[in-house]
Symmetry: C2
Subunit: 436 residues, 2 copies
Amino acid sequence: MRKEIVNIGFLGFGTVGSGAVRILQENNVEISSRLSPRLKVKTICSPNIAKRDTSWVRDEVKYTTDPNVVLNDPEIDIVVEAIGGREPALSYINQAFEQNKNVVTANKLLLAQEGINLAKLAASKKLSLAIEASVAGGIPILNAIREGIAAEKIVSLYGILNGTTNFILTEMEKSGAAFDITLAQAQRLGYAEADPTLDIEGLDARDKLAILSMFCFGRYTSLEEIPTQGITQLTPIDFVYANQARCTIKLLCMAKIVDNDLLLSVAPTMVPHNSLLAKVNGSFNAIMITGASGGQTFYYGRGAGSGPTGIAVVSDIIRIARELTNGHTSLSSTFSFQNLEKSNVTELSQPYSFSVRFTVNNHLGVVAKLASILSENNINIHSISQDKLLTDKTNLSFVTMLEPTTPQQLHKALEEIKKLDFLIQTPLAMRIEENI
Amino acid sequence: MRKEIVNIGFLGFGTVGSGAVRILQENNVEISSRLSPRLKVKTICSPNIAKRDTSWVRDEVKYTTDPNVVLNDPEIDIVVEAIGGREPALSYINQAFEQNKNVVTANKLLLAQEGINLAKLAASKKLSLAIEASVAGGIPILNAIREGIAAEKIVSLYGILNGTTNFILTEMEKSGAAFDITLAQAQRLGYAEADPTLDIEGLDARDKLAILSMFCFGRYTSLEEIPTQGITQLTPIDFVYANQARCTIKLLCMAKIVDNDLLLSVAPTMVPHNSLLAKVNGSFNAIMITGASGGQTFYYGRGAGSGPTGIAVVSDIIRIARELTNGHTSLSSTFSFQNLEKSNVTELSQPYSFSVRFTVNNHLGVVAKLASILSENNINIHSISQDKLLTDKTNLSFVTMLEPTTPQQLHKALEEIKKLDFLIQTPLAMRIEENI
């Protein structure tokens, strides 16, 4: 069953869909030299296709607002789901599999929630579900874990997985501007959406981390169980203090196996300047993986946007088309593992150094009081810093660096501290990742 | 033809071979959960197997000094060629294909010379030739190019591809010690071989660059045509001057397509501190790829050693075993491209900024003379630096930074300068890569 033409149908023609169609067209020479069947965009479905500019599309494409025109077309081999969100994307993908079509999708939310079931369905029907575009856009990280280092026993993964928040953090550090102002700037420049909640609250990064943990460890979990903290609490002064400690601040995702439980976390974290992760600026993404045998590998690139995400989608299309050419039925697997198991999420319980920023109405004895509560909780203070430019004593931010303590001990101390009447804001505690 | 056991035969049991066997054993739990057939090490062949410690090998393995025991065993599915060098490795691989066996190899020298022919032979017999371990050890870079960003039109590749030289350069920068002393230290620590020629003259990096250019551009060339410069000329003072220019020095590999010709180069290069490539220290490797659609991606990890190279070998074994499990005959392709074409190598001809170190017997008029020759060749001097600690006027090194000029213009000027009697050493010119 060697195929000469592989027909592709698109559901959705926004950033991802149009990016993929553009790449199929513009990189046609390179793509044709990498596989023998021709990739043909047969049908594009979008509810508002009439409003889209399609004048640049050279393939003779059928345009439609009816997804069934794609899903029920027996000639279409691969459906690209580029709608996003849970429904109707989920129903369409299920329908595509029922109609014996392979599916490529960038839908991280759906995959984080339903990836296991969809992969099982695909496997049972000997079809391919390819999802490279769902995590870290133009970085081929899922492929690297599934194929490139398939023999590795992965010890830990650290990632910067959300371009919007990384752009905001980079800008705040550079300009010293407040979070709200920088968010508005990111929205003007197209780096943040009108409703930025999923990004700035860390939920988008969390979904991607959940997908990565399936690839690294063969484990999945309820998304709600993953401790997730966004970046809305951060202020420019946090970057000044971080810099004094030779660190920057990143919304860092972490995944590890600890005592057979899955340790997952999304939180603003202090990253030392000498780490490669500290060099990831603007809307870029990166992933650092430590393996038991091969040591550290690090992957960096654009996490979003039409071009990078389009490359991931079309590379998946090429992978599927190569299998179809060879008379194979499907890719060997969606995930790296044959079977995924549900896992509890455990909390970080090893001792870590922490930075804690207190914002207080300053008066005599404030430091003494904080220090004594920390001390009563067996937490040693490494240093206390107060920037000399801060003169507003009624709204004073200063930072204490704590010697290694468990998050549980720190939490207990901070609960006591929160009751103090001189405290103006909830203290902001950040883990210091000293060895990444 | 679903297989329950995939039998593996090893030719060679040095760093790479023993590393792979150890990983098959130690990561057995992870590997078994990633594919259904069991991977069994059936036979290990090494001319000096009697002297090797094999007490830790748990599989019931047949040991032999006769490669035919592996090559003629009809039960063996995958042969790992871990001997290195041209012969007898080439004959063994050919024989393995004749005997219908899939081949995994880390042999960069052989692949740079004969990769095309071997891949053709494998394809004609519907067998797999898997070569991830041949370039950048633990970094799954070939997989990334072939699968992960298969849709990309690659514009350029920059790489640090030799761990030995990168270790030496990092140590020279850190300690200020001379090249010879640092090389001896690298040899003591096992980072350099007794005969370090292939590494320090850039030939090992050149072979890997040749393989990468096949993956990026589908082009190959005679290895001798690739302009290759090693690191033996470098002195500690070069790092001092580089640092003043906010750069470090790396043995940088470059591959681009310029006017349909292949531009390849291996040379010590000035890399700005703010580039990710400047952060690649010690024996690590890294590759920066720029794509027309997806922009920059960067890959970093250990370039050599038993663990990282073993991971690449065993990951290739897993890829092949997955295909065998699915009843497929072979991997879709060794290279990213279906057909590779022979290409001329073109020389860098765009204007670049250069740093040139002159070592002279200093006297009045030296700078004037050099400046006038540069000026006669239409080369503008950006700056001239002389470290204040250098007091030996009879053997004085100073550096001129040149405004953008072509390598051809610079070469012409340097040919004239070389004739000057106050010159003690051949001037060392390094390209400054400002935008990587």
